[in-house]
């Protein structure tokens, strides 16, 4: 709808996936995986609501659609959002509480190496841009922490990241996601 979708497209195609931009309900048809990219979470939620897509996206994810959410996408999935726009609606599918811009404004945006559970080898370059701060992680598996707070979590077929792998040049997380999307939801 709005945000850094083309960077995700490039990363996913580089690891061999075929992609489609989702802007209407029909675009959701027969997907193996869905990416909720970074962008402005208020803008993205509003556009999804106006297109009547919030419910269908929620149902699809609940029904086992593999989902990769980055930054604003993580905010969209979170059960509780603090410091959002009054009345900001999300999908409420992930048992975490996030604070919007919890690391500060743009001048506080940063890069940091991350140790991510399940990724072998070297650290992952974390690119954090006006990132959400995860203040509480409930029924989720925490894959990585930074500075004492979770920055990558997983629940079932949902992977949510506070940073931007699509800007990092490191394709490992996209490769893992494609592998997840290719496994049957009901295995």
């Amino acid at each position: 709808m709005q945000g850094a979708f083309s960077e995700h497209v490039r990363a996913l195609e580089a690891v061999g996936a075929r992609t489609r931009l989702v802007r209407t309900i029909d675009d959701l048809d027969s997907l193996d995986g869905l990416v909720l990219p970074g962008g402005e979470s208020t803008t993205m939620a509003m556009l999804m609501e106006r297109a009547g897509m919030l419910d269908s996206v929620r149902e699809a994810i609940r029904g086992g659609l593999a989902t990769l959410a980055t930054c604003a996408g993580m905010i969209l999935l979170a059960r509780d959002i603090t410091d959002g726009m009054p009345g900001q609606h999300g999908l409420g599918l992930l048992d975490i509480s996030v604070r919007r811009n919890g690391y500060g404004r743009q001048v506080d945006s940063f890069e940091a190496p991350l140790h991510i559970d399940g990724l072998n080898g070297k650290t992952f370059p974390g690119v954090f841009i006006r990132a959400p701060l995860v203040e509480r992680a409930g029924d989720v598996h925490v894959m990585a922490n930074y500075d004492g707070h979770p920055v990558a979590v997983r629940h079932g077929r949902i992977v949510a990241l506070g940073f931007h792998p699509e800007l990092s040049g490191d394709l490992r997380l996209h490769r893992e996601f494609v592998r997840l999307a290719n496994t049957d939801a009901h295995q």
């Binding site: 402005e40 604003a72 900001q88 500060g104 743009q106 001048v107 945006s109 890069e111 841009i129």
Partner: protein, 305 residues
């Protein structure tokens, strides 16, 4: 891009690198950035679906009408707009006025527009934008100008268009000029690229990157004269990543409705049936100006070099 700056926050993290500066612009893509002069305007813009707002004292149409020296907005006004919304807030400084930029950075603004809409403070030099942690967006009329700004550290580019006119013709001219400039690089060998760089006043290394990517290496928005949903979609179909709307919204009869329509038109820019729907019943657009009716020395796009 060379990463010449960035500082450690003491916990392995590095702030203000070019990657995070250009990265915020990536997050704005497919969105609309709206000029606002009050916190109330900012809230309307956010409600309409703007992905960011530009905090100003006067919109370009009023700057044009009232004349006089146009400067950075009052920090108090900027702070009140920052407090009113959760989306990123941008503000303008004069071309070459690096102290206005330092002040905006100290306020914690999310993006600085080094803008020809304000009265230039330096007629030769733009700001050296690399040492700043806050990212900059700059205007351009063609590929040479765009690449010079990127070499100075701009993390985002926009067309200049002709601000405050409600007339999209100059924005179209500038977007097409950038596209044509990039198309021309296709198939050139390095020696030819160096020659082309000389002709258009472009830094060779940025031009090399444009050739490799087939586009500017940073996000490129349209600005200057966009007043209708169709204008926004036109610019998107010409290949820009998003749009700035200045006077076009709050100088129109029904700002919220028009703002929402322009947001929808930017998302569904290639779906004429959606554009037809959102373009209806918007009330009067801003009146607008024919470019030849503007005295040559009052053209804003000619400022900056």
């Amino acid at each position: 891009m060379a990463e010449r700056n960035g500082s450690s926050n003491g916990n392995e993290g590095v702030k203000g690198s070019f990657k995070v500066k250009a990265g915020l612009a990536q997050m704005l893509k497919g969105g609309v950035i709206m000029d606002v002069v009050t916190p109330e305007h900012a809230r309307i813009a956010q409600e309409a679906g703007a992905c960011a707002v530009m905090a100003l004292e006067r919109v370009p149409a009023d700057i044009r009408k009232e004349g006089g020296v146009a400067r950075m907005a009052d920090p108090e006004l900027i702070k009140s707009i920052m407090a009113a919304v959760t989306i990123p807030v941008m503000a303008k400084c004069r071309i070459g006025h690096f102290v206005e930029a330092q002040i905006l950075e100290a306020l914690g603004i999310d993006y600085i527009d080094e803008s020809e809409v304000l009265t230039p403070a330096d007629e030769e030099n733009h700001i050296d934008k690399h040492p700043f942690k806050v990212p900059f967006v700059c205007g351009c009329r063609d590929l040479g100008e765009a690449t010079r700004r990127i070499a100075e550290g701009a993390a985002m580019i926009r067309t200049k268009g002709e601000a405050g006119t409600g007339n999209v013709v100059e924005a179209v001219r500038h977007a097409r000029a950038v596209n044509a400039g990039i198309r021309k690089l296709k198939g050139m060998n390095h020696a030819e690229l160096v020659h082309e760089a000389k002709l258009i006043g472009a830094p060779v290394e940025v031009l090399v990157e444009c050739q490799k990517l087939g586009r500017l290496p940073v996000v490129n928005f349209a600005a200057g004269g966009i007043a209708t949903p169709a204008d926004a979609a036109l610019m998107m179909q010409l290949g820009v990543d998003g749009v700035f709307v200045g006077s076009g919204i709050f100088k129109a009869e029904d700002p919220l409705k028009r703002a929402k329509a322009i947001v929808a038109a930017t998302t569904y820019f290639d779906k004429p049936e959606v554009l037809a729907e959102v373009s209806a019943h918007l009330g009067k657009a801003m009146h607008g100006l024919e470019i030849p009716a503007i005295p040559k020395d009052e053209l804003l796009a000619a400022r900056g070099w």
